[in-house]
Symmetry: none
Subunit: 207 residues, 4 copies
């Protein structure tokens, strides 16, 4: 499974057999846009990052950006995901509890350093419209949630976890605590948090 790109990038009539007419989409432009975003994010917040600045830094017309992404959130999310690389399935572990732990650690490793801050800023920015919110949610959070939900269900079936556990709620609590911590002013996820969360998560899941 891959989380590395959004689905905007196929030129519009994507599904017909014959070749598209006219000048093809410039891959160079796409790369330099995502590249520019990533470089700019080192210097400024998501809020302060403007499409205009991206276009200028990337040496690209604003139109080119607007043609391929619907809004700022989409571009930045795309740039961020391009950094994360593809999300391989985790190798299955001995116990489900261990799998949960692995999964959580992998997720938090993604958000180490500036990335956590940036992701939270994107999530915040995404709140401004229904459209961007689902864009963000479905392209990023949802897949992590699904993996975790499946693991929990698996644990419940195997008798490792409490049967009376509300899976959806547990997922909200686990990912919610990470998001909430980052939103409360923590610059990054400190070591204490990254160590304790998986342990405590297991505690609340187990019988």
């Amino acid at each position: 499974m891959s989380a590395s790109t959004l689905k905007y990038h196929e030129p519009t009539p994507s599904e017909d057999g014959q070749k598209r007419r006219g000048r093809p989409r410039s891959e160079t432009s796409k790369k330099s846009i995502l590249n520019a975003v990533n470089r700019l994010l080192l210097l400024s917040s998501v809020k302060d990052l403007s499409i205009e600045a991206i276009a200028k830094k990337a040496g690209v017309g604003k139109t080119t950006i607007y043609r391929w992404w619907p809004n700022k959130v989409a571009v930045i999310l795309d740039a961020l995901l391009s950094q994360f690389g593809s999300m391989q399935d985790l190798p299955t572990s001995s116990t489900t509890a261990q799998s949960v732990k692995n999964q959580l650690e992998r997720f938090m490793r993604l958000l180490k350093g500036k990335n956590g801050k940036i992701l939270i800023e994107i999530m915040a920015e995404a709140q401004s419209s229904e459209e961007t919110l689902t864009l963000f949610y479905e392209n990023f959070m949802l897949q992590h949630e699904e993996i975790m939900a499946n693991l929990i269900e698996e644990g419940k079936e195997k008798g490792e976890f409490r049967k009376n556990l509300n899976t959806a709620l547990a997922v909200d609590m686990i990912y919610g605590s990470i998001v909430y911590r980052l939103m409360s002013g923590a610059e990054t996820l400190d070591e204490e948090f990254t160590e304790n969360l998986p342990k405590e998560a297991i505690n609340i899941l187990k019988i």
Copy 2:
């Protein structure tokens, strides 16, 4: 304890004995500003709400707003808190678990309807700067967190809750799940969620 106002409203030299010079702050203006914000929030999102629109609606100069609040988040947060009214201490219940439940239900009742959406939008807006973030956190979330943290500690001492529980983490998980749910696109906290969260919260705290 009161959550009804921010600390911006004392004219600058607040604590000295002698009287302030010059024309005193207009309480009428203050009220009409907070009022305007509350009325405007019914029609538009926090993002789309402009200082200019508030000033116009309130029949007030923009300067008057900027004189008393440092930014949009502060005004809106203030207006919202003025709606919530003061936060009385909860009457102590039979068990700590019950107190936790009561406290959570009270919190979620505050966020019923549009208020939940608005609060999350403020929280999102507040992400744009360190300053607004602490403003939001310290004037709203922090006091709720503290109440809950105290209850959990109390429960641990009384032997009601697990001794090995990480209090801070538990608080993050509980409030995080609410915030995260609202941030994920839920227009409001549905009945299912508001019923299940307190139950599950007790489950993870108890032995």
Copy 3:
């Protein structure tokens, strides 16, 4: 010779052979701006005329005005000159004295009615900075001064005018008297003045 436009209107790289890139300047906007200024000047003074009002009346963004003119004086001067139309050379007359008279009458005709008042208000407004002052002087007064100075020199050579006459001073006196009269509160140049000035001007020039 033409006095009908300032030199702001050539897009920046004016003199190179190759075509300019990007969307070209909108002539429609330019016209509607100058038009709006001229209509607004009928109702309000130069001082009370705001860039914002012009933009609104012209149905144009403020930025479009700021893009092409450096300040209010420049726009208004431009609008006024667009009214005056181009300045043809006068047909040479029998005597230089007659030419001087013709030139003066033409100048004063330009300033009949509201135009005199407006021009003086622009001149007044232009005093606020070195930049606007030279803008005004070089784009309007200077050419009139030069014509007059040339005529006076010609008259001196032909023996019509006093050899010991200080040409520059004479020009200052003649145009100065007009400007000064308008600045002293005269709404317009009255008939008495417009009749007498040319006569008296000839008197002080002649032997």
Copy 4:
């Protein structure tokens, strides 16, 4: 005759015999206001000088300024005239021509250095309303004009000057040339001008 103050400074019911009740006007404030204006004029233009800045520099409430002067032009004009000191009548000279010369030189001496620039800026600022214009004209220019007009009439009667001379026009030309020169960008009246103007003025007046 005195040109050193405007007539604003008598407290409102000026002409009745008995003393006014209440706290009398503070002369200290008046002085520090005029003083502040003169100091500020060394640093900024008349246009950029704000009532607020004057009040601050003078350590005075804005209300105090507005109580005694109707507008900015009035305050600044007042401050400038307080610098000029009183205008004594000139001692009569041998010839009227000499008197004219003396009068002109005295006038131009007043405008040496920054004062010329400032006066012209006041005159420019005064153009914005009928009221300020007459204020400026009647409190400053008019008395100079009258002296000159009287001298010219005297010269005509004595047979020194041309009988067919239009006195009003001559006055406009003479003072107009000075004003116009200063308005055209000259920082000050240079030596050449101050030497030549009186000579040329006599030339155009004489037979």
